[in-house]
């Protein structure tokens, strides 16, 4: 042990003399761990939130019985099943408006609630009585309570005037849901003796077959592991993960170059240690221990940084997920111990992977120095050829994935393979460019410039690869975001046809508002819409009812339409379908969609497809009158108005005064649009932030590579200095070399980035969200990025070059004196 400690002390002494190298190694590990675990923290937070939602008193994690039509069913079926030995518990679910907010109301029966409903929140023993006994309780998550702007113990009314039982916070509860006793739910939702589902617990005996008890009135729904939210948000999290992974790899590039150099420099030390009698096993194990210890320290620091990154990004992520998918994620970061362990683990694993080649080299090292290595050209050529072959293999994988892959993962696989392949082939491409330059060069100094750049290639290539990846991703993501932004804004302009939007609290108020509006001369048209919910092929679908008005024909954007599409909507047997839903159902114009309605199946001819960006649910647009005929329960509370611009403020003020409507219930087009754009922008805030982080890490990679390279450059530069080239001149040449190599890389990154953007738009987006955007290229943006890359390279190259320019001649002389 003491022996090992001494060897460790000797090994560590290297870092004391090479502090910059040590810092580089740590920075690489920290950067890799920080971004990766930051992203993981966010994903974990979101997944926990979905789990909470899914597990709320028997969500989809529990097997249950439901009515086939998705409607409610009589409570007597519950009794029949219990008396036949079925371990079922009753639940009733609906939506209520509280303080103008629509929330889920869930009625449960705590006495029969299955034990197996695992991570559902628990009521305390003594609390059960208060939950069941009048007036009962309304259990609510803390964040929902504050969203409703209520305090514990309050009994806010719902839209039909009935009061909720006193609110009580149950911290583990999913947000956005109010949980009450089943009896209370039946009263509040006005569904006496009706249930919406039966949760199935562990059987206590052998129950009679379902059909023999309830016939076909109920059907079994098996529990699923994946929630609807998880499915929908998968792409989003995959996106984050991809960024995390990219940063992780870029971080490892840094680690790899730092470790490589450090090991190279320490080889004589290792030889001496071995010559002095430290066994190979001891030295090698201590090398691994040293690396693991460094990874441990850096991993811990990285985790702390990751925590802060996650904490900073989380509000935007939460806003995006809410805006895009309606998923409720708490904005306060909570982390499990697993996260810390996984972070440390990934740091150590990453360090070992990054150091693998160096470690193997050290382990295989003979005590005696062997014959001189091959000349660098020979070595470099072999390495370039091997790497290019690998790149071709990777490109082949990308092609195969593109051809045969169906899933989102495959989409990301194409992206990853594309970028990895490009990174691998980059040195070869640069070599070709530099070789061409060398051949074209006439003057001796220029010749040296090109030749020396080529020699530097192997040392710089990892950093350049990192730069290429970061730049390509940047180009790709910015192009996609910009494309989406433009498409979205154009779409929003058409979609928000009305000038003023009103949401009445209930039908009665809706009627009153419409009557009042008809009396006003400043209202040019009243457009009453409606929304209903149904299930088509097991998927939730929103039915949007639009009035027949010329305004829609003129402005409402359709991606594809059958002839006379709008007119065919009128009779009520045709519908438009949202783009993502049409993809999900694989439905095209001319197909028929069957919607289960209370009165029976409603058959709808599809006559149009429209973009419905940002809507997690599938949507069908129909004529509003037909919708109300088929779904009589449809609340007629949505009203759009056409009003001359100058009359809008007055009308809104009058509406607010007359009907006590708040800002959420009445808004003009500009406000709604601004809100949508705000949500949209936040959606991509995270992407942009991660983008910047990645570029930053790539910059660090370049910087550290140049810095470590600078020291080994002296023997190459000293002869030039000796033959009379001044130090500033040498520095300028060095700078030019770095910048030109970076420029070539950046220029190669542009087409790669556009390819990435195309992948994102044409493959990933379609698979993830269900919409395909037109592909635009934004040249100005590209120029900007190339400039940023060059600036980053300039900054990275500046310090080593400045050091060179100011270097004492004695140091250069030493090169000759010390040369072995």
């Amino acid at each position: 042990m003491r022996r090992a400690l001494w060897v460790l002390a000797v090994l560590l002494s290297h870092w004391r003399r090479h502090k910059m190298q040590f810092a580089t190694l740590l920075v690489g590990l920290i950067a890799a761990t920080a971004l990766w675990s930051g992203v993981q923290a966010i994903n974990q937070q979101a997944r926990n939130a979905y789990d909470r939602a899914a597990a709320t008193f028997g969500g989809i994690r529990t097997a249950m019985l439901v009515a086939p039509a998705g409607a409610t069913f009589p409570q007597e079926l519950f009794i029949k099943l219990r008396r036949a030995g079925w371990p079922v518990s009753s639940a009733l679910e609906g939506r209520v408006q509280v303080n103008g907010r629509s929330v889920r109301l869930l009625g449960i029966e705590p006495v029969t609630l299955p034990v197996e409903i695992g991570n559902a929140p628990r009521l305390g023993a003594a609390d059960l009585g208060r939950f069941v006994a009048p007036p009962g309780q309304t259990l609510v998550a803390r964040e929902t309570l504050s969203e409703l702007q209520e305090a514990e113990g309050a009994t806010p009314p719902i839209s039909n005037g009935a009061k909720l039982p006193p609110l009580r916070v149950l911290p583990q509860l999913a947000p956005g849901v109010l949980v009450v006793d089943i009896g209370v739910a039946q009263r509040l939702l006005n569904k006496p003796d009706q249930l919406s589902r039966l949760l199935i617990g562990k059987p206590k005996s052998k129950p009679a077959p379902l059909a023999s008890v309830v016939g076909d009135q109920l059907q079994l729904v098996e529990p699923t592991a994946e929630t609807e939210l998880e499915r929908l948000t998968d792409s989003f999290h995959l996106n984050l993960t991809a960024f995390g992974l990219l940063s992780f790899f870029v971080g490892l590039f840094i680690v790899n170059s730092a470790v490589g150099l450090a090991f190279e420099q320490r080889l004589p030390m290792l030889r001496t240690l071995r010559a002095c009698g430290a066994s190979a096993r001891l030295v090698n194990s201590v090398l691994v221990v040293e690396l693991v210890a460094l990874a441990l320290i850096a991993g811990l620091i990285g985790l702390v940084c990751g925590y802060f990154i996650a904490a900073v990004l989380l509000p935007d992520v939460a806003a995006s997920l809410r805006g895009l998918y309606g998923a409720q994620i708490p904005g306060q970061l909570t982390l499990q111990p697993e996260w810390w362990l996984a972070g440390i683990g990934i740091s150590i694993a990453g360090a070992l992977v990054a150091a693998a080649t160096s470690l193997i080299k050290a382990i295989r090292m003979p005590v005696l120095a062997t014959a001189q290595p091959h000349a660098w050209q020979q070595r470099q050529r072999r390495w370039l050829i091997l790497q290019s072959l690998a790149a071709c293999a990777v490109f082949a994988v990308a092609l195969l994935l593109l051809q045969y892959g169906q899933s989102l993962i495959a989409g990301f696989g194409v992206l990853a393979a594309l970028m990895f392949g490009a990174a691998l082939i980059l040195p070869a491409l640069l070599e070709i460019i530099l070789l061409a330059g060398q051949r074209a060069a006439r003057k001796p100094l220029a010749l040296w410039f090109w030749a020396d750049s080529r020699q530097q290639l192997s040392g710089l290539s990892l950093a350049l690869m990192a730069l290429l990846l970061a730049l390509a991703v940047n180009v790709g993501v910015s192009t996609m975001v910009e494309t989406f932004s433009r498409t979205f804004l154009g779409w929003l302009n058409g979609r928000l046809a009305a000038d003023v939007y009103i949401s009445a609290s209930d039908n009665a108020q809706g009627v009153a508002i419409r009557n009042w509006l008809r009396e006003r001369s400043d209202v040019q048209a009243i457009l009453s819409g409606g929304r209903a919910e149904a299930q088509v092929q097991g998927q939730p679908v929103e039915l949007l009812g639009l009035p027949d008005h010329a305004l829609y024909r003129e402005r409402w954007p359709l991606l594809e339409a059958a002839p006379r599409a709008w007119s065919r909507l009128m009779p009520g047997n045709a519908a438009f379908i949202s783009e993502q839903f049409s993809r999900r159902l694989n439905v095209r114009i001319g197909d028929v969609v069957e919607v289960p309605a209370p009165g029976g199946t409603w058959e709808l001819d599809i006559v149009g497809v429209y973009a419905d960006y940002g809507n997690p649910k599938g949507q069908l647009t129909v004529n509003v009158a037909a919708l109300i005929r088929q779904f009589p329960q449809t609340p007629q509370t949505r009203i759009g108005l056409i009003v001359a611009k100058e009359n809008i403020p007055g009308l809104i003020a009058a509406l607010q005064k007359q009907f006590a409507l708040d800002d959420r219930s009445v808004a003009d087009q500009a406000t709604v649009k601004a809100e949508s754009v705000r949500i949209f922008n936040r959606t991509f805030a995270v992407t942009s932030a991660l983008n910047a982080f990645t570029l930053g890490v790539a910059g660090i990679a370049l910087f550290t590579s140049l810095l470590t390279l600078a020291n080994s450059r002296l023997p190459h530069l000293a002869p030039l200095w000796a033959i009379g080239i001044t130090r500033p001149r040498l520095a300028a040449i060095e700078l030019t070399k770095t910048l030109s190599v970076a420029l070539f890389t950046a220029l190669l990154a542009v087409p790669l980035g556009l390819l990435v953007a195309w992948c994102l738009i044409a493959i990933v987006n379609v698979k993830a969200f269900g919409w395909r955007l037109p592909f635009h290229v934004f040249p100005l943006q590209l120029v900007e990025l190339v400039a940023v890359a060059l600036l980053a390279s300039l900054l990275a190259a500046l310090l080593p070059v400045a050091r060179l320019a100011r270097m004492q001649p004695a140091n250069l002389v030493k090169v000759f004196a010390n040369e072995r």
Binding site: I79, R122, L123, A125, D181
Partner: protein, 355 residues
């Protein structure tokens, strides 16, 4: 929330049998607003076979000492408890504040199986009707057959099933139910805590008992206790040791002692002749001595008893069929068949609570 949590909840709400803050299992809680148990009530059947929701707690408690076709002894229990969470008139549907709970168990010398079920009142998942008599919770039930007599509360069909056991019995009796204590008024303390209490100790039972999917025919004797009250125990009473004995002579004996925090205990007894005449036994005349304990579920339980009633020249030693007859339910207790010998011999059931 889980049923385990609920079981904790029901401990506060219903007849939790673990010694709680208020005497044993909440049975010592004050009875404000609930019906009062007073002497002199005239029992009327079938009405009193049904529930008495104005009282806080009530039970239909049946134990049976059986022998299977190979001659091996076994026992079973079927109990339905009712508790009102709130006094006052009971609402319809889910607004009803009655909570029902049932325990079922089977005991052989080599095994003891049990299960429990909970239910809200008011919706039909559990309940009791007096005429025709039926007591049920889920698919566990005890119900009248066509020719059931209100005075004997027989014949009855009884069934319960769980994952690893089930049973179905027919209960016959030709003598009327027997009022315990003072014409059905059963005093539980010096300070007036009491319950209404009657029994049918004369059931002859016959049917099928299934353990691990292996059915056997069984027959024997059964005893039903009907009891309701609003505060049957005093706050300082911690539990009870209760026995129902089928003497080979055909006589029946019910004995119990209530234990107090101060270590004293109060024995009570009723001797029921084979003809159905009952006679209270003075507490001072009853000697109940634990003879041996068994360690079950981390508790020391007195499962063997030396019992003597000198005035009747009665002296027996009771031994359990299976000392591990622990009811590990939401609130837990020991309940199992026993055999006894001495001046008299026979079989019976022993219940130990509050340990």
């Amino acid at each position: 929330m889980s049923r385990r949590a609920f079981a904790g909840g029901i401990a506060a709400l219903t007849l939790a049998r673990r010694a709680g803050a208020q005497g044993y299992a909440g049975l010592g809680e004050t009875a404000d607003g609930f019906g009062k148990v007073t002497p002199g009530k005239l029992f009327a059947f079938p009405g009193d076979h049904g529930p008495h929701p104005e009282f806080r707690i009530e039970w239909w408690y049946l134990t049976a000492n059986l022998v299977d076709s190979s001659g091996a002894a076994c026992g079973l229990q079927w109990t339905l408890f009712r508790q009102a969470a709130q006094p006052g008139p009971q609402g319809e549907g889910w607004a009803n504040q009655q909570i029902w709970m049932a325990h079922a168990a089977v005991t052989r010398a080599d095994t003891h199986r049990f299960n429990e079920v909970f239910s809200r009142g008011g919706v039909g998942q559990a309940g009791v009707t007096a005429k025709p008599f039926a007591a049920w919770i889920d698919d566990w039930e005890m119900k009248a057959l066509e020719r059931t007599d209100d005075r004997t509360l027989a014949p009855l069909a009884l069934r319960a099933s769980s994952t690893d056991f089930s049973y179905a019995l027919t209960l016959e009796a030709d003598r009327p139910v027997v009022l315990q204590g003072d014409r059905g008024y059963s005093r539980k303390s010096e300070r007036g805590q009491a319950s209404y209490y009657y029994s049918q100790p004369f059931y002859r039972a016959r049917g099928t008992l299934t353990i691990d999917d292996k059915p056997v025919d069984v027959s024997g004797q059964a005893w039903m206790d009907r009891e309701w009250s609003s505060q049957p125990l005093d706050a300082d009473q911690t539990g009870w040791d209760w026995l129902s004995l089928h003497l080979s002579s055909g006589d029946k004996l019910m004995l119990y002692r209530l234990r107090q925090k101060d270590g004293k205990d109060y024995p009570f007894g009723n001797w029921i002749s084979a003809a159905g005449e009952t006679q209270m036994i003075a507490g001072s005349d009853i000697q109940m001595m634990p003879k041996a304990t068994a360690e079950v579920a981390g508790r020391k339980l007195p499962v063997e008893w030396q019992i003597a009633i000198p005035s009747r020249s009665f002296s027996i030693l009771c031994k359990p069929l299976n000392p591990r007859a622990w009811m590990g339910t939401g609130f837990s207790y020991w309940e199992g068949p026993i055999g006894f010998a001495g001046t008299h011999h026979g079989v019976g059931y022993l219940e130990l609570t509050g340990y």
